[in-house]
């Protein structure tokens, strides 16, 4: 039985309609800790104009965001802060790891720099480069939009950890080797 649709009416699934709404209004949370942050700012500025893709409003409160862009190296002292901010963001939320440092630690293979944030928080898109060009970040956002469209929203499928986040590398827990602590004299201060 053919149904006659009035003009300007389309039929869609609620699921893909919801995804479509979400993907075209991403609210990035800039977690810019180093030089990559400069490119992130350039991406948001008028020349590269992230507004064309519906993601121009950078909010500095995690409560108002759904896309975390980690731009720059994350020191081990910073990682608890990163995790706290990630936890403060509402579902559904996504994460872009921008630059070599955020994705792998980059050239900073030292005791103080986390070797890839994906060891500790889930990451959707990796942007290679040191720093990536704004075009690359825009491409990552477009790819993320496709991903959001493809995965569906109604029914809470984004909470399905397994299907969504294929672990990119083996997460291994390295043991901490404890060294004997030197006892501090005058810890409370003498003068």
């Amino acid at each position: 039985m053919a149904i006659e649709l009035p003009e300007n009416v389309v039929i869609s699934k609620l699921d893909s309609l919801g995804s479509w709404c979400r993907k075209n209004s991403l609210w990035p949370m800039p977690f810019a800790t180093a030089c990559c942050g400069i490119e992130l700012m350039a991406t948001g500025a008028s020349r590269h104009d992230l507004a064309r893709f519906g993601a121009e409003v950078f909010r500095f409160s995690p409560r108002q965001c759904d896309l975390m862009i980690v731009a720059g190296r994350v020191a081990m002292k910073m990682l608890p802060v990163l995790q706290r901010i990630w936890q403060q963001m509402h579902e559904p939320k996504w994460c872009i790891s921008m630059g070599a440092c955020a994705s792998t630690g980059g050239v900073f293979d030292t005791y103080a720099v986390v070797q890839g944030i994906d060891r500790f928080i889930p990451v959707d898109m990796y942007v290679p480069g040191c720093p990536p060009r704004p075009e690359q970040l825009i491409q990552a956002i477009i790819d993320l939009q496709d991903k959001i469209q493809a995965e569906g929203t109604i029914g809470g499928r984004e909470f399905n950890t397994f299907a969504r986040q294929q672990r990119k590398r083996a997460l291994m827990e390295l043991p901490i080797i404890r060294t004997p602590q030197i006892v501090l004299p005058n810890r409370q201060g003498t003068n």
């Binding site: 081990m76 995790q83 293979d109 103080a112 070797q115 390295l174 080797i177 060294t179 501090l184 201060g189």
Partner: protein, 166 residues
């Protein structure tokens, strides 16, 4: 220059074990650990070295011809006479304690905290000897040469957050 050599000469007179050397126009003296606070007090009070430019440390582990493990370096300047003097104190394990110079130069506070953080040199009498750069729970002193560059696993010692749990 003449005035600086006078300072070094009278310092040598007063503290017998002071050794002097020169490198690229900079005069350096090495002061024994037991006398370092007295020598620095004397330099500040009598010779007018009113500014502590820097306080840092060098680890001489595996350094050629080195006999001591750590070299604590005080870079002093005298504003009035426009003099500069480098004072070094050589330290060896296990006695890595020197008196704090915060009573002499207030600015030594954070520098001593940094040296404690990075090298584990203890400054006796420091008002607030905590780590300044690394997190409180960090246990090693990473600028020591025997500390591995990639750490002992501290950078991986965090809980892993997964999707859907936060």
């Amino acid at each position: 220059m003449s005035s600086l050599s006078k300072v070094v000469a009278s310092l040598k007179e007063r503290f017998s074990e002071v050794a002097e050397s020169e490198f690229r126009g900079l005069t350096r003296v090495v002061v024994p650990q037991s006398q370092c606070f007295e020598a620095l007090t004397c330099l500040k009070g009598e010779f007018g070295f009113d500014m502590l430019v820097d306080l840092t440390c060098v680890d001489y582990l595996n350094f050629r011809d080195a006999t001591d493990r750590f070299g604590l370096v005080y870079l002093l300047a005298s504003m009035e006479d426009n003099l500069r003097l480098t004072v070094r104190v050589m330290l060896n394990e296990p006695d890595l304690t020197v008196p704090s110079v915060v009573p002499l130069w207030e600015g030594a506070n954070w520098m001593e905290r940094e040296v404690w953080d990075m090298f584990g040199i203890l400054f006796e009498g420091h008002p607030d000897l905590r780590r300044i750069l690394l997190p409180e729970e960090f246990e090693a002193h990473p600028l020591r040469k025997d500390y591995p560059l990639q750490g002992r696993g501290e950078r991986h010692n965090f809980p892993v957050l997964t999707r859907g749990e936060a």
